[in-house]
């Protein structure tokens, strides 16, 4: 396991990010329960340390792609939670103007090139962005593809890894291994030793990390991204974690025992980070304040989303295409 000097500032910042993700998703889950949010919502509760730990080292010039479970990466990359919440509510001031919802959340202004409704679809897009960086000699820019363990069984996973290695592209592949391919345990449908070995088999160095240990993710992420920025080519990070909620927010996950989930809650990355920071002498009141600030921010986000306007009907015709744009029913 990677060791790093305890960097209180960095870890506190990641802690704040994790709380903002958690508070956002809990607020979104409640809004869904209250019937205020209509579409599918996939929660990353329990997986926040990976988004927070990796994105801490990215700038707005770096790009990421993510999955249907992408709120965390989007917040960690710097998007406004208020604009994201409005997006979940389908409102005009949503980050995508209310046209995408939770599954298609994106904020290009901070280099977040999109969540995706299709498993593994973000990998080729991230690889393509990295290809363009290399083509234009934009040294130092990197692309990060976040995806789940279910994605490793799709063809574009293999294609994208091979491509990145062949063209020596500045890409970090981050496999968030939460153990589930939707509602099926990934190991029951996956042959071989898993994500890292698949990456290594085509020559991409792979590292494995406890994805619920934000300090470890921060440390390893720093090293891997530095390597990529130096021109070392693609790197692969296999992060073990656990999806504390169901596949979607309305999935009660009856396919796994309650005791398993209970036990996994004890491994909650936020609780672990709270303990770590306290061990290093950070005052609990300060940590509680971070949680409180995050919850207040998201309560306000929900309130502003509820008050926001729906997209105007003419929005339906805009942004389909320039040539042959639709004008009416």
């Amino acid at each position: 396991m990677q060791k790093m000097n305890f960097d209180a500032t960095l870890i506190l910042e990641a802690y704040r990010t994790m709380w903002r993700i958690r508070a956002f998703e809990e607020a979104a889950e409640k809004a869904l329960d209250d019937g205020k949010v209509s579409g599918a919502v996939h929660l990353s509760i329990g997986q926040e340390a990976i988004a927070a730990g990796i994105c801490a080292h990215l700038t707005a010039k770096d790009v990421i792609t993510t999955t249907h479970r992408g709120h965390g990466h989007t917040i960690a990359k710097g998007a406004s939670p208020a604009a994201m919440m409005s997006e979940l509510f389908g409102r005009a001031d949503g980050v995508c103007g209310g046209m995408g919802g939770s599954m298609h959340i994106a904020d290009f202004s901070v280099g977040m090139l999109g969540a995706n409704g299709v498993v593994a679809a973000g990998l080729p897009i991230a690889v393509g962005a990295a290809h363009a960086f290399k083509l234009r000699s934009e040294a130092g820019r990197v692309a990060v593809a976040f995806f789940g363990d279910g994605a490793i069984n799709r063809g574009p996973f293999l294609e994208a890894l091979n491509w990145a290695q062949v063209f020596e592209l500045p890409v970090l592949f981050v496999c968030e291994d939460n153990g589930f391919s939707a509602t099926t345990r990934t190991r029951t449908v996956t042959a071989g030793p898993g994500p890292s070995e698949r990456a290594k088999s085509i020559g991409i160095p792979a590292a494995r990390v406890d994805g619920n240990d934000v300090a470890a993710v921060l440390a390893l992420g720093l090293d891997l991204l530095a390597l990529i920025r130096q021109g070392a080519g693609p790197q692969f990070l296999h992060a073990d974690t656990y999806r504390l909620k169901g596949h979607t927010a309305v999935d009660s996950a009856p396919y796994r025992p309650a005791s398993e989930v209970e036990e996994r809650w004890r491994d909650d990355p936020i609780v672990r980070c709270t303990d770590l920071l306290q061990t290093h002498g950070i005052d609990y009141a300060r940590l509680a304040g971070i949680e409180q600030d995050a919850r207040s921010e998201m309560t306000e986000a929900v309130h502003s989303a509820e008050c926001a306007l729906w997209p105007k009907p003419e929005r339906l015709w805009r942004d389909v295409q320039d040539v042959g744009a639709p004008t009416a029913w």
């Binding site: 949503g94 994106a106 999109g114 363009a132 994208a160 091979n162 062949v166 389909v320 320039d322 040539v323």
Partner: protein, 336 residues
């Protein structure tokens, strides 16, 4: 300077000129460094280098998906799919990613890519290398679909496709690569969505595109020799958006519209044109396309489903003679 060049050379010239004009234009696909499977890229790697004429693995999904990512960060990729049939390995990336990006992310980005999909029947290429699938993509909001028929159009439309900010499905016909015609170097692009009046006539409007334009021209001559109807021919050039104005104006003059395409008639793009015309104008309409069978290998059977000038002339005669009540004799009607 106007010179007589092939449809294939015209596309190479257009791409080279666009790559010289705009450093963000680049091409990627299998075997491009070797000039591409038909030679459409010959010499380009030498001029532009292996970065901008990129040889890729046989990974259609990632060719298309990477182009989406590369387009989102500001480049203008021209993607080679080798055969339209292979682009089916990249349908998610084209239909779910490229076509939807601008809309579903609320106009944050544009995906200015061109995906070249060589199409159509060509020398017994059989079921997996012969299809004409333009109607599939015309169905998808967000996509522009182009089917050039002549060297001049392959030059001018490819330029427009490359400059277009929408994802463009660009379907060159394999049977046309070696056909020749006049092309002016460094000339203006041809606007997308605008049809070409190939031939004026009085009695029947023949709407077609791609390789069927030549077949239609030959059919018109044949009909003339048979003292048949005077045929007006419209080359649609862009399948979506299709030029309704030109088609409607012609239909009003002739009173009859026959759409001819090499693709399977069932749910082909002819159905869309005919339905639209029939909804708005009181004219006789018919469509003529291939039967709903995969393209066979054996040359005599391949010939059976080829849309020839003789068959087009036959379809035109049927439309001339047909009364609405007897339209059940329509050639394309499936047997019950």
């Amino acid at each position: 300077m106007v010179s007589e060049i092939t449809y294939l050379e015209a596309s190479r010239l257009a791409l080279a000129e666009e790559m010289r004009r705009d450093p963000d234009v680049w091409a990627l696909g299998e075997d491009l460094g070797q000039g591409g499977v038909f030679g459409q890229y010959a010499g380009l790697a030498e001029e532009f280098g292996s970065g901008r004429i990129a040889d890729t693995p046989i990974s259609e999904a990632t060719i298309m998906g990477a182009a989406v990512g590369a387009a989102l960060v500001g480049t203008r990729p021209v993607i080679e799919m080798r055969f339209a049939d292979f682009a089916l390995c990249a349908v998610d990336e084209l239909v779910n990613q490229a076509a939807k990006n601008r809309f579903m992310f609320g106009s944050q980005g544009r995906v200015p890519l061109v995906v070249r999909q060589p199409s159509g029947m060509w020398r017994s290429s059989a079921a997996q290398h012969s299809q004409s699938l333009e109607a599939w993509y015309a169905h998808i909001p967000g996509l522009v679909v182009v089917c050039p028929a002549t060297p001049a159009d392959n030059y001018g439309l490819l330029k427009s496709a490359i400059r277009c900010d929408d994802p463009v499905v660009y379907m060159e016909h394999k049977g046309l690569w070696q056909t020749t015609g006049p092309v002016s170097e460094a000339s203006d692009p041809i606007p997308l969505g605008k049809a070409r009046m190939v031939r004026e006539g009085r009695d029947i409007t023949l709407v077609t595109w791609s390789a069927m334009v030549r077949a239609a021209q030959d059919a018109a001559v044949l009909l003339e020799a048979q003292a048949g109807p005077s045929v007006e021919i419209i080359d649609l050039r862009t399948i979506y958006p299709w030029d309704r104005k030109t088609v409607f104006a012609s239909a009003r003059r002739t009173g009859r519209v026959l759409v001819v395409h090499e693709a399977v008639a069932v749910a082909g793009f002819g159905a869309e044109i005919i339905a639209t015309v029939a909804e708005e104008l009181n004219v006789r309409v018919s469509r003529f396309g291939a039967p709903r069978v995969p393209v066979p290998y054996a040359p005599p059977l391949e010939e059976m489903i080829r849309i020839t000038p003789e068959k087009i002339a036959g379809a035109a005669w049927r439309l001339m003679e047909e009364r609405r009540e007897t339209s059940s004799t329509n050639h394309n009607k499936q047997s019950e």
